[in-house]
Amino acid sequence: MSLKVKFHSLFRIKLKSRGHEYQLEDEIDVMELIDLLDDDYDGYFSKKLLDAGEISPGSIILVNGENVIHKDGVKTKIKDGDTVTLFPPSAGG
């Protein structure tokens, strides 16, 4: 299956990358995706997105636009063709 990851905000600016695409054998969940990203980006994403194994306050992980907090959190399944969007804590007004 294929999945697309989009980086925004400080992720994009610090990593100088707009995202990453993965081709995988099996379906994965959000936690497994963070592990994959950690391998590619030197442990960066778990540090920024997680707090004691849960999504840290203010970090935003969307699967096809929907915040995974209102789905199964880090256990939310990612399917073929999905887009995952990642934001570090962000706010404004």
Partner: protein
Amino acid sequence: MGKIYEYQVLRVNLSNGEISRETIAGEKVKKFLGGRGLASKMLYDEIDPKVDPLSPENKLIYATGLLTGTAASTGGRYMVITKGPLTGTIASSNSGGFFGAEMRFSGNDIIVFEGKAEKPVYLSLKGDQAELKDASHLWGKGVYDTTDMLIEEFGDEKARVSCIGPAGENMVKFASIMNEKDRAAGRTGVGAVMGSKNLKAIVVKAGEKQVEYFKDEMMEVVKKQTKTLKEDGVTGEGLPALGTKVLDNVINEHGAYPRNNFQYGTFDKVEEVSGEALVEKGYLQNNKGCYGCPIRCGRHTKLPNGQEGEGPEYETGWAFGADCGVSDLNAIVQANFLCNDLGLDTISAGATIAAAMELYEKGYVDKEELENGPELTFGSSESVTYYTRQMAYREGFGDQLAEGSYRLAESKGNAELSMSVKKQELPAYDPRGIQGQGLNYATSNRGGCHVRGYMVSPEVLGVPEKLDPQELKGKPEWVKIFQDLTAVIDSLGMCLFTSFALGLEDYTEIANAGTEFEYSPEEMLENGERIYNLERQFNLEAGITPDQDKLPKRFDEPLPDGTFRGTAAKYREILPEYYEVRGWQQDGWISDEKLSEMGLK
């Protein structure tokens, strides 16, 4: 002199030139805090809520917050309170920068302007002297020139200036008041009231600081709070790096990023105009901060043509960008600089052009009316700069735009094409994607506004906790608490952005450290509730009745795109519960019992 317990009021009668001083102390300060709260109480007590906002009978009050000028983190804010010409509601616009702190240092905690000057004047505050001076030579000048000329004339480059531009002079219904050139008390048309009084500016430089606000006890709390703000992901990292414009992609991905006058909830060209683009295109130079601010969310930008200034903020970038279908970041930044110099609220300016574009495309505005101006079609970057300038000077079609989107659309026979609440243009969040925000829009005391209870924070950003944006249960309580807490933060003179990291307990602690008062957190929140009720009561007496607690009809239709495609606004379902939570009558009016309970009767 030590902690704060009283307010020094400077009263300036512009009609006869008399200037007098008075003091407010004790319970009134304790219960209404300062700034927005205390000044709203004064306005309510001193004017008939039914007055014409642009008549001499209206008053214009400059007020520092309870902790403005102290060591409190972000404690530099001042507010302008008056009856607003755009909405007819009570208006309170809040600005950062350094003017507010200087005003406090000068011993003028509140300045009340009454009547109307015969000729243009400005108020000069030098040390403990207050003097009205002729401003004929400044009339017609932009904010930048006015600021430079006044500082020169004053003879002290450390003087601070708060002034209006041509838009305020021409009583554009959404004219702003600007300080340090780029900082705005932006919304609700406070600049038009200033213009109606022939008051161009205030320039202030304190002699010695009048009060010592840096007591050890306060410093301890300040240090702790500064540390919290610095360590928080939002206030310590996100806001300093990208400012509020970090939100473009967040809100767009969420499907609540209004495009083409709220006809859609996503913008396919967001990558061209986002905060990230501002960095990647090399426009962003560095960040700037207001008085006492460890967050420093301000942006200094420079365009390829060499033009420099501050901004754009998220709202501004959206109003001239996605809301007008425009993806030319250069034009958007230029429109922003124009608004700062002409003294216009960027949200209402951009959103009024967006409404005009829809009116034009649907045939409600004729080409002839544009008098050779560019065609008002969505996506026209030429239009946003051209008509921004025109509306400030009320030239050509700009004269109609200067009345705001509601009056414009109404005059064309289709008021529903104005995306406004109580005649003020909505900001950059589609309420169909953020239901609590919809309820807040409908019940905000100054009409369409996001900073009267920023429900986007819990519903989208997950701060302080993540709420489901489509869930209705519990939202009325959340909206009430956010509205009341915001009234507290404003009235304290701190920046609303601190609330991404600080909570009620923190605000109570800093107020206790900086003032003679001892508040419990419950009392502090009740102060906010009192202020909210007072503003509501003013509006009710002004004739803004509860049937105005509503959104434009467009939001009863489902969103056509994005994550929440097919969803309409549901605030009507929870409005009765909101009234109940507030302790108001079923019909939305406030009973005498509730008013006495709040100490308002």
